[in-house]
Symmetry: C2
Subunit: 338 residues, 2 copies
């Protein structure tokens, strides 16, 4: 028997999520920026980054492990490093503050970076990437998470699921965007399997003894595997170095040690690099935006897909028809307000 569903417009859902966060103690600035990311997840059919994340945010707030009303602060020394101190609050408000300055500096210098320090991270990176592609920039974003992935050839959790996201602007089209964990699967996907009581594929993780397992409970207790064997492991290590060590913020093992478990949103930093294709291509033959379309056409033309296609299709649908939530989901949202 199909569950009953409710349909909410994007703005109705947004109002509801903002209210949940404000009730939980977030300032208006924090509640609004944080809700934006969760609503974007739901809007795009990314259930693992939608309202599912609210519970963890609230748990983190209740535990006193995030600053609910901190005002992020931007510092700019005129170099290619813009820095936002999130002051222990969730990351989205810090990104929102830094993004316009990053875009301006990238247009001026060709490439620039935004460092977010001391934030509590819970979100997908693609909403940030799309903010920058909307401004005509290419962008790369990386951050650590919690030690939960063994380096290739190892057996103990050390690396995070360390996402890497990239975007390229496509005038009058949804951008080219990818955003994925450098573990074979995202931790959230294993969580969903655990909740659903289903098995995970056998190459996703090892148990505490280093043996491959299909049991999501054992996987969460053991270590996940990096994607692409030694290559993914190397990329994940690079993410620890650049967006943990280099920016003077916590690595994944440090973030885990800091909170002691993975049930709360981790405290660490993030690194975003923005590129101005116009400045890089200046004086060279061809328009980079036109040339990129030739590449995308060739990918689609042989039956392959562009990343995020499914997400954009869902977005087009929910922007028109609204977001459908199950009665369980609606009940959750109502209970968060209580």
């Amino acid at each position: 028997m199909a569950q009953e569903t409710s349909t909410l417009s994007i703005s109705e859902l947004s109002d509801l999520v903002v209210k949940i966060f404000e009730n939980a103690g977030l300032s208006g600035q924090q509640a609004s920026a944080t809700a934006d990311v969760i609503v974007a997840g739901e809007r795009d059919g990314c259930k693992s980054h939608g309202i599912y994340r609210i519970e963890g945010c609230l748990r983190t707030i209740a535990a006193g492990k995030v600053e609910p009303k901190a005002k992020p602060e931007l510092t700019d020394d005129g170099s290619a490093i813009l820095r936002v101190d999130a002051k222990g609050a969730f990351s989205p408000a810090a990104f929102k503050l830094g993004a316009p300055a990053l875009a301006e500096r990238a247009r001026q210098l060709g490439v620039a970076s935004l460092v977010i320090n001391s934030c509590t991270h819970f979100s997908a990176l693609w909403p940030e990437i799309e903010t920058l592609t909307d401004m005509g920039l290419a962008a790369l974003a990386i951050c650590p998470s919690y030690a939960s992935v063994a380096p290739y050839g190892g057996k103990e959790p050390l690396l995070g699921t360390n996402p890497i996201a990239f975007g390229w602007p496509r005038p009058s089209k949804h951008p080219y965007v990818f955003d994925f964990a450098t573990s074979i699967a995202a931790r959230g996907e294993i969580e969903l399997h655990r909740r659903a009581g289903t098995q995970i594929p056998e190459d996703w993780a090892v148990d505490v003894d280093g043996e491959p397992t299909t049991d999501p409970e054992k996987a969460l207790a053991g270590a996940m595997m990096p994607f692409g064997a030694h290559k993914g492991s190397a990329i994940s290590t690079m993410i620890e170095l650049l967006s943990g060590v280099m920016i003077g913020d916590m690595t994944s093992p440090e973030a885990l040690e800091n909170l002691g478990n993975t049930t709360l949103s981790p405290h660490h930093g993030e690194l975003i690099i923005a590129f101005s294709p116009e400045k890089f291509a200046a004086g060279r033959p061809g328009n980079p935006f036109v040339r990129a379309e030739v590449l995308f056409d060739a990918i689609l033309g042989q039956g392959a897909r562009l990343p995020s296609q499914r997400r954009f299709a869902m977005r087009d649908q929910t922007m028109r028809d609204g977001v459908q939530l199950t009665s369980d989901e609606m009940q959750s949202l109502q209970s968060f307000l209580a």
Copy 2:
């Protein structure tokens, strides 16, 4: 029966390779920079990027598809983009010219990029990365190659083997460096299997009909597969966009169309991004170089390896004992001089 071997010191091998390139018509500047990369490959036991590459270079020179005496030219508009026009010559001399300016700009701005335009590319990226780590910088290098890899879910060669290399400086130690093709295997590895008459693993490539094949000939005629399924495919596409389209140089399909086949070194560009860990970490707790060692110790401590460990071990050995070449290899080198 073991083949007889000759032992050459690094400088003897270097003199020999420089002479080969000068005899073939390269200027002193071009011969020396190009030889450096080949000797580094041989020194580090990277046979697929050692003297094995000379034949292809000579073929490219003989075909008139590389400018043998071009002088690379650096332009600097004061931004975070340094640009070297290689003017159709091999890439190493262009990199050598741009590297000190890149390092200086990265120290000043925190992050800076070096664009190499219009070069003929044949080399590994790690020698470039190590030049920058030697200067205390972290660095990332990417470039297209020839269309030979199908995008994930596709079946026709479109993406190049598109290498990505990264390095992190380790004071008084060999740096943390990885450098790999975004195909499951490097094209050179399939070439070596073809020459040796051995089969390739079945997930490396598809034949012209899109079917998996273990025959290196059929693989080279068909399409290689990206590493890490859709994730590696997305990274490879990013490399086409940033280091082909964005810098106004050829993508992998354009490079293939330009020369018509893959037997000569491809003509395209390269993008290198350098980061100053000192500037990024300034004002934040902890020394980034000390903190990175904690991460490396944790990787090694659970029995995993750091990338390039084998290469550095071989380097330590050949720097002490010289490079051993088989009589076939020595004969090849002599024949190149004739």
